[in-house]
């Protein structure tokens, strides 16, 4: 369904001196800096697959999605979605894709939700009968009935997102791109949204490409994940695989009475690493380790032998941690080590 071959996108960023002089100067002469947002990636996604597309902020996720939707033209490489080159036949591509872009609403701000759907029906040329069936189904699954008469601007975040999702799937698109569909929502809404996505996939075979920072979303919806970092795909495989490889990752944050001259205790050197400290919270020491090498309890007790621990929290492994970890399998680990010791 989605075929991507050697896809790359380079941005030219004009550098400009500040002030009026800079503005005038830039009229005649510009210095450019090239930023490689996406560096030759390959993707092959079958119809009705549900894929998590993850990576840290600025890794190239949204640039890729923009190229897949036809909003952005690639610098080089090939893209085909359902046999169509999106940036060449944008309109044709648009009629069988759906999208939810995070906080940006797709619906029409001032008019009631039902009227928005009515307009979308005409924009996407959905046959009346199909439209009625689909809407009835969505209303039931997403509990939209009480929202249909309300203008979008008056909806809460969770209500809006439910309506957004319905709008994205309304024309029964072959591919749906979901960018952070659960961000900022409470657990009950998240659950409803996840089950809706799964249901759509099961019933219509919709291909779903999901970007999210929420591990739970990925685990419940996707069979496969693709991790992108710094413009390159660094992992493409099943979620089971990544879980067995990295699911044993743990992070514990320590707050020490005195952390100025902190070094990792000798006993832990073989089994754990210290993560770089965060600017805003220099007192917090974060230690990452694998539960196969050492148990959490053991690590904590060793730490407490060496330092006065004021407080500690055991964190879930975040996407960022895993991405960093995969990337760090290469050379990054050594660099980190040196900084610490």
């Amino acid at each position: 369904m989605i075929e991507v071959h050697n896809l790359a996108k380079h941005y030219k960023i004009a550098k400009r001196d500040p002030g009026l002089r800079g503005a005038v100067k830039s009229l005649f002469y510009r210095k450019y800096e090239t930023k490689e947002a996406v560096k030759g990636i390959n993707l092959h996604i079958e119809a009705s697959e549900m894929v998590g597309y993850i990576g840290a902020n600025g890794a190239g996720k949204s640039t890729t999605i923009k190229m897949l939707t036809g909003i952005l033209t690639p610098t080089s490489g090939e893209v085909k979605v359902n046999g169509i080159v999106p940036y060449e036949n944008r309109k044709q591509n648009a009629s069988h894709i759906g999208a939810v872009f995070g906080q940006r609403t797709q619906l029409f701000w001032d008019i009631p939700v039902r009227e928005s759907y009515e307009l979308l029906k005409h924009i996407y040329e959905i046959p009346q009968k199909q439209y009625e069936e689909t809407l009835a189904e969505f209303v039931e699954v997403l509990h939209l009935e009480p929202l249909l008469g309300i203008p979008v601007r008056q909806l809460s975040l969770g209500q809006k997102m439910r309506c957004e999702l319905a709008a994205a799937f309304l024309h029964r698109p072959k591919v749906v791109y979901l960018d952070e569909p659960t961000i900022g929502l409470d657990v009950a809404v998240k659950v409803r949204i996840r089950s809706f996505i799964k249901q759509m996939n099961a019933r219509y075979g919709t291909t779903v490409l999901l970007t999210t920072h929420d591990m739970q979303d990925i685990e419940e919806i996707c069979q496969r994940i693709i991790i992108i970092d710094d413009g390159s795909v660094i992992y493409d495989g099943s979620i089971q695989n990544i879980k067995s490889q990295f699911g044993d990752k743990r992070v514990i944050h320590f707050e020490l009475e005195n952390s100025d001259n902190f070094i990792l205790p000798q006993e832990l050197a073989h089994a754990a690493q210290v993560l770089p400290r965060e600017e805003e919270d220099l007192h917090k020491i974060s230690i990452t380790f694998s539960s196969r090498d050492i148990s959490g309890a053991e690590l904590i007790s060793i730490m407490m032998n060496h330092y006065t621990v004021a407080d500690l929290t055991i964190a879930d492994p975040k996407i960022e941690t895993i991405v960093e970890e995969i990337y760090g399998r290469g050379m990054k680990k050594e660099v980190q080590h040196e900084e610490v010791h």
């Binding site: 909003i71 999208a99 872009f101 008019i111 307009l119 924009i123």
Partner: protein, 263 residues
């Protein structure tokens, strides 16, 4: 094409519904624009209380020019007002992407997104002014004259549209070109009066470069005997078509630049 007309009708219907929801604002908007236009007309009236003609043009001839400009501009104001917002409401907050993933022409979608109620004030004033001025012109108003007048007014409206579209398109490269659009739009102030009162340079600028002369003075001159511009006046529809075509080509280039750089 039929599909787009139908879609536009649907967009309009929604926009009108929203408008009716805020009835007070609708009235306030219409009233305010009428007042604004009226201030300009009153100014001309005051001046003509003290003189009989301006550079050979009578009060009603000036009023007629004014009326064509106001009616023409109302077309732009009612239906194409969204052009002002391209940079700060669409490109900067990323809302323009939404238009690009819809299976319809993005310019159409962008324009149809808004119907500006306040423009109706402009339309009313324009019609009132035209109605006042027309009986005083030295011409007999037959069917053909009305047809030509309507064509001229539509052409005038589309010249406003073309100029704004052209300069709004710059937003694709510079995020928000509103200051430029606004400045250029202010040039249309010249067009309220007979171009003959200005320096030659200004006249050429407003005829051949930014064709605001065709939004009021030239079309009006068609109906004024002995104005000396009857032939140039006939170019008004041509000027409208050419400038719209140029602006649309430029828009497409801008769109292309936008899809290759993003924002």
């Amino acid at each position: 094409m039929i599909r787009y007309i139908k879609l536009y009708y649907l967009f309009c219907k929604q926009n009108l519904k929203v408008m009716m929801e805020y009835r007070m604002d609708f009235l306030l908007g219409v009233l305010s624009v009428m007042l604004q236009q009226f201030a300009g007309i009153f100014f001309v009236k005051i001046v003509f209380d003290h003189i009989h003609e301006l550079n050979g043009w009578t009060f009603y001839e000036i009023l007629f020019i004014y009326g064509i400009a106001a009616t023409g501009r109302s077309i732009h104001h009612i239906f194409f007002d969204n052009l002002w917002t391209l940079g700060w409401q669409y490109i900067r907050p990323g809302k323009f992407d939404r238009l690009l993933i819809r299976p319809i022409n993005p310019l159409f979608h962008f324009i149809a997104d808004r119907l500006q109620q306040d423009g109706f004030g402009q339309l009313f004033i324009g019609i009132i002014v035209l109605g006042t001025a027309m009986p005083h012109l030295d011409i007999s108003w037959g069917f053909m004259e009305y047809v030509i007048l309507i064509i001229m007014i539509i052409a005038s409206g589309f010249i406003f549209v073309a100029v704004n579209l052209f300069f709004a398109t710059l937003s694709f490269w510079m995020v928000d070109s509103l200051p430029i659009v606004w400045t250029i739009f202010n040039l249309s102030d010249f067009a309220r009066y007979p171009l003959t009162i200005y320096h030659k340079g200004i006249r050429h600028l407003l005829t051949w470069i930014i064709p605001y002369g065709f939004t009021a003075f030239y079309p009006a001159a068609y109906f004024i005997k002995g104005s000396g511009f009857e032939n140039l006046a006939l170019l008004t529809p041509v000027a409208a078509i050419v400038s719209c075509a140029l602006a649309y080509l430029f828009w497409n280039r801008g769109l292309k630049a936008f899809t290759s750089t993003g924002s």
